[in-house]
């Protein structure tokens, strides 16, 4: 047993309606960086929440340093030397870096319980320096960039002198340069004898860092390999679980006239020089890494966060879009990434959710015609095959996939031309996935123009006619269906225009690793 610091056997975790983890195994050697790969919704995040004691598993056991353990809360895990850096940084924006690092395990004088600021600031400074950052520990957390906050999170993990550090998509929001910095930190931690679980669905991370890789798919354990034991393709198959061409039904729709033209769209701090066109019946895949600015671009198109530079033309007519209502009037619809927060009113029946965007369609002078509403809701809910008994079933009671279908149905009520889908299959089970693909294709063949944001390469490749790759706020490459390959996309999404010099370096670095 001493061969592994951490071993999980047959972990199963169920949530109402969905099995998040199904008999998952995992072995972690001391001083290794272990990549945990899988598509969005494969169960990676749930898995680490189990390790860190946020969730307690329904089945299976966990062996830490050779003895069985059972965490009832995060603190226990922490004291046992497990620290996690979560995907969405969780910190105290109003407090100083030092406090964020030491929150929960402050240094206090034995008797008086007085906080020892000097020591904490000192130690904080040291840790940060050991991470190659010279942040002033006294700065407010809220004023730091995401990358810097990540570093503080890592510093926090170190300050608890954790033996096992879990990084959940740490590079998601970082530029190439920042990621590179992070890689170095991870390596130095490993060299100091810490074991690191590195969650990501990006190959470059794995190639760059990991010696071992475990793959989850659809909340099941697929397998564990040494990084150089397994070929890229085999890994993709392991992650995606099917020959890519199979799942995505050929769509038979011819591309029509221009619907949407975007010229030099920009918003300070989020994206710049975004130009592209969208045609009837076309599916434009918009990919790139999380935080590359894809969502921001589309939300600007939909009027959620108004852009401050550039032109938008709909059907050749120049328009300005200040709020979602205007966008919808222009025939633009948007399926948000986070359906629970942005997409649906969970406390409502699915019928009401479907009709919310277009209440005026079945109301006379603002008076609702509830019968008409119910009929329409029924029609659409059936059209997208929502699994439910009544349109009055609460959305919160539906599975992720069905919730997503309801969200899609919302778009069908309005008379739209352009539909923007932000991660349409995120956290959706395989069955529902292919159903949603079907729907998307139907829409395309009905002459809608579709923009599909997705981080899942197989999905993008399988669905799109054209693919725009974004990188830190800019479109770096357009790829046509024919020329598309995973490498091409990776290449484009890793090239870093923001800072030429280091961009070159890091790019080379990656290429080496890939062909090596």
């Amino acid at each position: 047993m001493s061969e592994y610091v951490l071993e999980l056997k047959g972990i199963t975790k169920r949530f109402p309606g969905v099995t998040a983890l199904d008999n998952v195994h995992f072995k972690l050697r001391p001083g290794e960086i272990h990549a945990l790969m899988g598509e969005n919704g494969a169960g990676k995040s749930t898995f680490i929440k189990v390790i860190t004691g946020v969730h307690s598993p329904d089945e299976g056991e966990m062996v830490l340093y050779g003895q069985k353990v059972k965490f009832s809360n995060p603190k226990e895990a922490q004291t046992m030397g497990i620290a996690a850096i979560y995907q969405h940084v969780t910190n105290y924006p109003d407090l100083t870096v030092t406090e964020n690092i030491f929150m929960g395990h402050e240094k206090v004088q034995k008797i008086t319980g007085r906080l020892l600021w000097k020591q904490m600031h000192e130690e904080a400074r040291e840790i940060l320096q050991s991470l190659g950052s010279s942040l002033d520990p006294k700065t407010e957390m809220g004023s730091l960039s995401v990358a810097q906050q990540q570093i503080v999170e890592i510093a926090k993990a170190i300050s608890t002198n954790a033996k096992i550090i879990i990084m959940d998509e740490p590079t998601a929001a970082l530029t190439a340069r920042e990621s590179e910095e992070l890689y170095k930190i991870a390596e130095s931690l490993r060299d100091q004898g810490a074991s690191i679980i590195f969650i990501s669905h990006r190959f470059e991370d794995m190639y760059r860092l990991a010696s071992q890789v475990t793959v989850l798919r659809d909340s099941k354990y697929i397998g564990s390999w040494g990084v150089n034991e397994i070929s890229n393709d085999a890994l993709i198959v392991a992650m995606v679980g099917r020959e890519i061409t199979q799942v995505f039904p050929k769509k038979e729709s011819e591309i029509g006239e221009k619907l949407l033209e975007v010229e030099g769209l920009g918003k300070i701090g989020f994206f710049a020089d975004i130009s592209f066109t969208l045609h009837r019946g076309e599916i434009l895949g918009l990919t790139g890494l999380v935080g590359a600015g894809r969502t921001e671009v589309c939300q600007s198109l939909f009027g959620i966060m108004p852009y401050d530079k550039g032109k938008i033309k709909v059907n050749g007519r120049e328009v300005s879009i200040q709020n979602p209502k205007e966008a919808m009037k222009l025939g633009i619809g948007y399926l948000p990434e986070d359906r629970q927060l942005q997409g649906l009113v969970l406390q409502w029946g699915l019928g009401r959710n479907i009709t919310l965007p277009t209440l005026k369609n079945f109301s006379k002078k603002g008076w609702l015609d509830e019968r008409k509403e119910a009929d329409l809701a029924k029609k659409l809910a059936e059209k997208v095959h929502v699994k439910a008994n009544s349109i009055f079933d609460l959305v919160s009671s539906l599975s992720g996939g069905n919730q997503q279908k309801v969200a899609v149905a919302k778009l069908l009520t309005a008379d739209l031309d352009i539909i923007i889908l932000d991660e349409p299959t995120k956290g959706v089970d395989v069955g529902a996935k292919s159903a949603i693909y079907e729907i998307i294709n139907d829409l395309a063949s009905q002459g809608y123009g579709i923009i599909m944001i997705s981080s899942e390469m197989p999905e993008v490749i399988g669905m799109s006619d054209r693919i725009a790759v974004m990188r830190s706020g800019r479109i770096t490459k357009f790829l046509h269906k024919e020329e598309v390959t995973q490498e091409a996309i990776l290449e484009a999404s890793m090239s870093d225009f923001s800072s030429k010099d280091e961009g070159e370096e890091s790019r080379k670095g990656i290429e080496v690793k890939q062909y090596g």
């Binding site: 603190k75 407090l95 929150m103 319980g113 006294k138 701090g269």
Partner: protein, 344 residues
């Protein structure tokens, strides 16, 4: 090599950032201070008797109670709460304390203060319980308790006032006596502030108050009990209100049923002026002191300037609104700076 360069560039960035932020965050206090000084000069010009040692002393003495209450309110606001019941709590504890001392003249003033504080604490606990255990909106809970406490005050007083002749000299002298030549009220306020300073800056619990206000969710992950903190905060608020009740009664040598009705607004105003954020998480003692001083100053100066009493409310209201708006604008500025700093 690469590491080195990275480190440097990083450090440069950070240095810039901190200095900028330092300015921004200092901005409010400084601005407030500047405003206060300006006001002083203006008033002095109009009425030379303003900046006399005696008047300053009066001013600070009158501000003492306000500042004590503002301190408690700051803690409540930091946890994203609000307490509208303190005026009533103050009246209740003041009334009961006064009745007690008038009943048995021998009672040592310290005991009176203790009694009042305890009554306040009880009131605070009730509110804390409603807020933390039942998750009732603080504003609703405290509005209701304000009614109840006020009603109880009238009830226990049975419509009577407790007048100065009924109070033993020892009790009245709490507010008039001097310690080391400084009025006791001021001394008490200072002591409380010193304790508070230590508490919120140098103890875990103190920092946890900020943590809960700043990000309740990660506070849970860090194993901080929100219930406990809320309980604590409202209890402290109640305690301070109770204490203030006794001081108030002793200061004016009279306890009435309608003592300090509507005073909670002044207190909240002081906090907001001091830059305590209603969104929770942030608030400085220095700010609160300045905020209280500014209001104390206004109360003292407006009569000296023969400003019509009817303008005072309007002035107060506008000052509050302006203060909070400026505050948010400054915050936005910071955010925007951070965005601009992001390279694309």
């Amino acid at each position: 090599m690469a590491e080195g360069t990275l480190g440097n560039s990083n450090s440069v960035q950070v240095a810039k950032k901190t200095s900028k932020l330092a300015i921004v965050s200092k901005f409010r206090e400084l601005g407030l201070l500047a405003f206060i000084i300006l006001l002083c000069v203006a008033v002095q010009a109009r009425n030379p008797s303003f900046l006399t040692m005696e008047n300053i002393n009066d001013m600070i003495t009158n501000t003492a109670i306000l500042s004590i209450l503002a301190l408690g309110m700051m803690l409540v606001l930091i946890t994203r709460g609000i307490d509208l019941s303190i005026g009533a709590t103050l009246a209740l504890s003041g009334m009961i304390a006064a009745q007690t001392v008038s009943a048995n003249q021998g009672l040592h003033p310290i005991l009176a203060i203790l009694l009042g504080t305890i009554i306040g604490i009880v009131c605070g606990i009730v509110i804390g319980f409603l807020v933390s255990k039942f998750g009732i909106l603080p504003i609703i809970a405290t509005l209701a308790m304000m009614n109840i406490f006020r009603g109880l005050t009238f009830t226990v007083s049975d419509g009577q006032w407790i007048s100065s002749y009924q109070m033993p000299e020892s009790f009245v002298s709490i507010a008039t006596s001097k310690i080391l030549g400084i009025n006791t009220l001021i001394v008490i306020a200072v002591v409380i502030y010193l304790i508070a300073f230590y508490f919120i800056n140098h103890t875990r619990t103190g920092r946890q108050i900020y943590a809960v206000g700043s990000n309740p969710d990660s506070a849970k992950v860090s194993g901080i009990s929100q219930t406990k903190i809320l309980m604590l905060v409202y209890t402290i608020m109640g305690g301070l209100a109770g204490l203030s009740g006794v001081l108030w009664v002793s200061k004016f040598a009279s306890a009435q049923g309608d003592t300090a009705s509507g005073y909670e607004l002044t207190v909240i105003a002081a906090c907001i002026l001091g830059g305590v954020s209603i969104a929770g998480g942030s608030g400085k003692l220095s700010g609160v002191i300045l905020g209280s001083l500014l209001l104390g100053l206004l109360n003292n100066a407006l009569p000296l300037l023969n400003v019509s009493p009817f303008w005072q409310m309007a002035i107060q209201g506008s000052i509050i609104l302006i203060a909070v708006i400026i505050n948010t604008l400054v915050k936005r500025g910071v955010v925007r700076n951070n965005l601009l700093r992001r390279k694309i």
